[in-house]
Symmetry: C2
């Protein structure tokens, strides 16, 4: 018999792809419930168990959140306990907690070559650069530059950032329909340069943890670059190896 050479793809993977599509197009938005497993089974003409397996994978990737008795919801950076999924810096003593954020600046400019490369933009495409600091119990601990594609985040201003209460990713989600799904971080030890030293209130060449992050939204699209320095005198970067 002539059989297709195409690589085998399980039904539940195809269902998963369909669900993902609905997430990308915004048919179901962060925080909302998606249809019940049975409804989806009818819609896609497969059994409930197959839908279930697709959702299982999306839940394990933190794109969906299951809540027994209530439904399955699109993951959101609002009101999630998941803030520490992206912020790994914790105090040496005492409970992890979310730091205070202080926006220093937010301006539009042309993408430097490196940023453009990381964000899949052309050099000189518009980008937005945010400068900010973070404080753990009043102590200056993080200084960072955040780079965003200018077209996607059109209209983002210092004021909008300053008046925002809550995680920055929640703002991006609500105002710019951009939900961060995953990120990659590269860590190094560096000596403080003049700017970092000034902001963190330490001497030049003080050892700092440099963290470069690239964040991705649905479909592996890079939409944010962060270049940060962490002061690790009373805090550390916590990582679980599983």
């Amino acid at each position: 018999m002539t059989e297709t050479i195409a690589t085998f793809s399980p039904l539940y993977q195809q269902i998963k792809a369909l669900i993902l599509e609905s997430l990308q197009t915004g048919e179901w938005r962060p925080g909302e419930a998606i249809p019940s497993e049975n409804d989806l089974a009818v819609r896609y003409k497969v059994s409930q168990g197959t839908v279930r397996k697709a959702i299982d994978e999306l839940a394990s990737e933190h794109l969906l959140v299951r809540r027994q008795g209530k439904g399955t919801f699109v993951a959101t950076h609002h009101s999630d306990r998941v803030h520490f999924r992206f912020l790994r810096l914790v105090p040496d003593n005492g409970e992890p907690h979310y730091p205070q954020s202080k926006i220093l600046d937010c301006k539009r400019l042309r993408a430097p070559a490196e940023i453009g490369r990381l964000l899949d933009l052309k050099t000189n495409d518009p980008v937005i650069q945010i400068e900010r600091m973070m404080f753990f119990s009043k102590e200056a601990t993080v200084y960072e530059e955040i780079w965003l594609p200018g077209t996607l985040f059109k209209g983002l201003t210092t004021e909008r950032l300053v008046e925002w209460r809550g995680p920055m990713y929640a703002l991006f989600e609500t105002e710019f329909s951009t939900h961060m799904v995953r990120a990659t971080e590269r860590l190094r030890a560096v000596g403080a340069d003049e700017l970092s030293a000034k902001h963190l209130g330490v001497g030049i060449n003080t050892p700092l943890l440099a963290v470069e992050r690239v964040s991705y939204t649905y479909g592996e699209r890079p939409v944010e670059v962060r270049k940060a320095v962490y002061l690790t005198n009373h805090h550390h970067y916590l990582n679980e190896l599983n």
Copy 2:
């Protein structure tokens, strides 16, 4: 009706616990195949699907490895492509690769208070301390001290370590029946002290990435502490946030 107040525990979780027990006691050892899903279903008197779900979780925790058509195997640090699950340091340019290891020393002594605390030992219990370096393409990049419980690793000598080819965790598995399951790392930027500077061939106070690791074997038992410094001039610590 009088019902038990005990919190509900799904069958597959109980099966998972039973399988875990067999892993801990060494009934099935790293690298070996465990019985087929059907055999286990008979043994535990549940359906194959229930066994399957238990194995699924253990596989996602990297305790077991499934291979279609062949069977399910106990995870091992031998011949696994998983070395980079524990070593996150990669070159800035070029492919990740496993570095060369050079053992400097291995001696028995009494547990310092901090090490004893981390390893759940009493102060003054015997411990083994290993000193070693790692080289990426001949370049000295890592200097570290490794601490192990003395009773568990009785008989570990410098010679045994030096003549060993392959990952250290594979040696621990084969010779001391201790399989590392997961680990926690705490990262900081520090200035090189005299010892680190000498070993890594850099000046005193050169910024280094300090990595403190606690590794656990089956049943969340801590069995290793590592205190390392990484030179991050041409390498970085790569971390995926999911």
